[in-house]
Symmetry: C2
Subunit: 345 residues, 2 copies
């Protein structure tokens, strides 16, 4: 390992002080353009790279953002991370990513690691069984910003970045009702999480508003896996009054339901109209194409990262925007469209 050149080396070679070199490299206004050029070219020549540790040690900031997600192997999460990475990169921040695997315990461990790594801020989507934010107290105490996205929890210390899951659930259900469904089943995830409980509330409110009974047997709380989808179909088909609509809180699971229903001889959307959630790529790959709620993952990631960075730069007071609400969109495709669409000419 050859020796790394430092600002002292550059300084010595140019008969300048290290301070001047440091300033020049940081584009400090009070350094003449001439010496700046001189220093920059010499730096290039030596293959100089700034030592982040020395710099961080001195500055007491890390330019690193911690991200904790429930899992990495989900398309939605990947999209969010892509957005975060893009923004962070543009602003010269690094991302440190870890997954909680849906467990509070692991989430606590991750938070601790992030704390010790001294991240400048934290972006978190909560594990499915997290029911308090005490493990972020160390951050709150030090005023290190923590922002929650997608799976959030109301808390005065945190900015939340979400879509209006209640409204989305309401719209999806209302759409099914509009297609003539009178008995709509809802398959969802752990209702500790806002994303699921809010969609459920929206579903219930829609039923209520349209004078449909709220049969509790029609609500199935699961882990939204492929198997859960097949199980839900089993439940559905064995009901005395078979549902004619199905609202599933995730596309992967919804796709699985569609497969199961078709295998059992149901036709979709005639017998059962189905709406999923997320607009996962799978929605357009299954037949019939899945109606769903589009969920701007990339944008959510970008906004989360940008908000955090703005906050770190003091450009935005966190308290002024405690919740950022992104738009969603109901996408009606074949799986729920009983009246054929008009064909464009």
């Amino acid at each position: 390992m050859e020796k790394e050149p430092t600002i002292y080396d550059i300084a010595k070679l140019l008969n300048l002080s290290a301070a001047t070199v440091s300033r020049a490299l940081n584009d400090h206004p009070g350094i003449s353009t001439q010496t700046k050029q001189l220093i920059n070219s010499k730096a290039l020549e030596l293959g100089y790279r700034s030592n982040t540790f020395a710099s961080n040690l001195r500055r007491k900031e890390t330019r690193t953002i911690g991200v904790i997600v429930p899992r990495l192997d989900s398309f939605f999460i990947a999209t969010v991370l892509a957005g975060m990475e893009k923004v962070a990169n543009e602003s010269n921040y690094n991302l440190i990513i870890s997954q909680s695997l849906e467990q509070l315990k692991k989430e606590m461990a991750n938070a601790k690691t992030m704390y010790n790594t001294r991240v400048d801020g934290l972006l978190v989507s909560l594990a499915s069984d997290t029911d308090n934010l005490n493990h972020f107290n160390t951050f709150f105490r030090k005023n290190i910003p923590v922002m929650l996205f997608d799976r959030v929890m109301e808390q005065k210390n945190c900015t939340n970045i979400v879509i209006d899951n209640f409204k989305a659930g309401y719209e999806a259900t209302t759409h099914l009702i509009g297609q003539g469904c009178r008995r709509i089943m809802h398959v969802t995830g752990n209702i500790k999480r806002n994303v699921y409980s809010d969609r459920l509330k929206g579903y219930r409110m829609a039923l209520l508003d349209h004078g449909l009974p709220a049969d509790e047997d029609l609500v199935k709380v699961t882990n939204l896996t492929r198997q859960d989808g097949l199980d839900a179909v089993e439940t559905l088909t064995q009901m005395t009054q078979v549902p004619d609509g199905l609202f599933v809180a995730s596309d992967l699971c919804a796709a699985s339901c569609v497969g199961g229903l078709i295998k059992k001889g149901f036709s979709i959307p005639q017998d059962v109209a189905v709406v999923g959630f997320n607009d996962d790529p799978v929605a357009q790959l299954v037949a019939p194409n899945l109606s769903t709620v589009r969920y701007p993952g990339q944008e959510m990631g970008e906004i989360a990262a940008q908000s955090l960075i703005n906050h770190l730069n003091g450009r935005l007071r966190i308290s002024s925007t405690n919740t950022i609400l992104l738009n969603h969109e109901l996408i009606v495709r074949e799986s729920s469209q009983r009246v054929p669409k008009l064909i464009k000419t």
Copy 2:
């Protein structure tokens, strides 16, 4: 921001030297168990956390691994990252992840950032148009280990972690031939990349070995998007001699092909038997279920990270294992199974 306690604070409070405290916290053998306990409990009491920058500055290592991937919003990549994250976390390494968006230019920029961040090592899956590794020369020169996974390039400086794409392509094609296919189309990605060129070679070799003609019109190089799948179907159906087999180098695209074919009235696998690649979740969500090649993403991530960490710890000489080959597995499902499987009793 309250002041962070340092080893000096602990030292002063216990009437010890900072050196002793440092050693105790690092579990140095030459410190009495008694003082170690004393120091540890005091550290806990003060909420002390080690300052990584000071430590890194002194030690000249970062315990950070850089990862460059073509894109984050792919299920396969997400799986790989999950594996890497797991291993890195267990060994107290941090991951810094960035995406090249399939562009050499962005990959170069990422490499530069990683270099300036002084990552201890690099894990890279190449962008689709990368045709040389010159942008990693800075790493090679400093003997910073660079490992390539999945999309690799032969190079004496790098360890490669791959599956046998040639064999996988050969097996997939041979399977189709075994199902009676005589005219097999192959839809693949940029053949600059080993993953695609090797699968193509395997495809060709299989045709050759079974005495089938290698019609170049049957090979379609695309970006493997959903649209590319539909386009491929268009090409296929307009051929004078319509193919009876289809081998697609990615499940997402394959699923799209299946959808397109069915829409055009083909039955699968009777008219066209289809095999995809990757065992993406979509493979089991489309009807008919997609035959595919299982590709151990999580495992690949774990092995890549572990190998790199082993190398960094001097536990493994990089030159001794220049290529790590992981197992793959042809999964036969409905989309290519013409003879019905025997039913287990």
